[in-house]
């Protein structure tokens, strides 16, 4: 679990809270790595995709970042959020009608490379209002900056930021719902 050293994460997160966007991206990448390590262990035989847990946990970390206290360790906080989201995902999985994929697991697993797991967050993304969806899409998948997105969608930057903020909050809210 490299890069998951608590002091290091706390430094990045403190800088992020102070408004350092680059530090926040670094923090999220390192946090994702730590969560992935836990999620892979938890999801063995659970019928839940580890990367779905990672993504859902990152969203929760983002919208709940005000529940981290600057003097508290980061890793237990991160772990608790990830665990909560994992339990959520398992519960959701249990409620879902099981489609007969017995015998197909190998095929499915091999197809499931980097982007084939679009379905969980992708479904939440599709549920967004069109304006929010195009902003979130431009910044995430297409990698545009806020300024580029504003220009491309003919919006002002504030409107882009608002749409991004609301869109992400909406994704975080619907991710778990079914």
């Amino acid at each position: 679990m490299s890069g998951a050293d608590d002091e290091h994460l706390a430094r990045l997160l403190r800088a992020a809270v102070a408004g350092d966007e680059k530090a926040y991206a670094d923090f999220l990448r390192d946090a994702a790595q730590a969560i992935r390590g836990w999620a892979r262990r938890w999801t063995i035989g659970a019928g839940v995709d580890a990367e779905d847990v990672v993504q859902e946990a990152l969203l929760a970390v983002h919208v709940k970042r005000h529940t981290w206290r600057e003097d508290a360790p980061v890793i237990p906080w991160l772990h608790a959020i990830a665990r909560h989201k994992y339990v959520d995902a398992v519960r959701r999985q249990a409620r879902r009608p099981t489609v007969g994929i017995e015998g197909l697991e190998d095929t499915l697993a091999s197809v499931e490379t980097e982007k084939a797991r679009d379905w969980e967050i992708g479904r939440a993304l599709e549920g967004l209002a069109p304006g929010q969806r195009s902003v979130v899409n431009a910044i995430s998948i297409e990698g545009c900056t806020v300024a580029e997105t504003a220009q491309r969608l003919d919006m002002n930057e504030t409107a882009v930021r608002v749409a991004l903020h609301r869109g992400l909050a909406a994704i975080a809210r619907r991710f778990g719902r079914n």
Binding site: E51, K64, H66, T67, A80, S140, R161, H165
Partner: protein
Amino acid sequence: MDTNDLIKALAADTRRPGLSMSATWAGAAIGALVLAGLVFSVLLGPRPDIAAAAETLRFLFKFVVAIALAATAFAAMRVAAWPEADLRRLLPYLAIAPALVAVSVVLELFAVPSDTWATRLIGTNSLLCLTFIPLIGLAPLALFLLALRHGAPSRPELSGALAGLAAGGIAATFYAAHCPDDSPLFAATWYTIAVLILTVSGALGGRWAVRW
């Protein structure tokens, strides 16, 4: 969307994070006290002989227990809103109010003759108690559940129950100023039932409202 794309979007969202939890709790506490006080003074008001009652130990002790419950449950609820909270460590604090109740009941049983126990327990107004404590506690409970929802409790039902206990403590504090029954036997029975109604409501409300 893969995880790196998601991170790009999250990092670009630089709008300020939500209200800090200490500000949230301060607001919830003030709002809870104001609303409970408002409901109390509109619907009930203090008992007419409150000045004389305030000189008796039994009357005052009701406040000691109710305030202890409100304070400890509120503190426990605050802790429960952190995702990594270890709720088992809160148990000693939560035992304070029940311990005070138990001590007062034992003292009362020694202090008064046993043929008056039943009358004291039944009191004059148990139905009023069971109606108004939950009623006064309703708004505080709703505010506390909202505050918990803004936090990230990993045990929604349990933290909702703590919200119910805290709301019950606040409601009992106000109601005690109206209630004409001061015997610990009365308080230990009816106040407890009334507070438990709020606690169960809190647990159910927590399951429903405190999801994240």
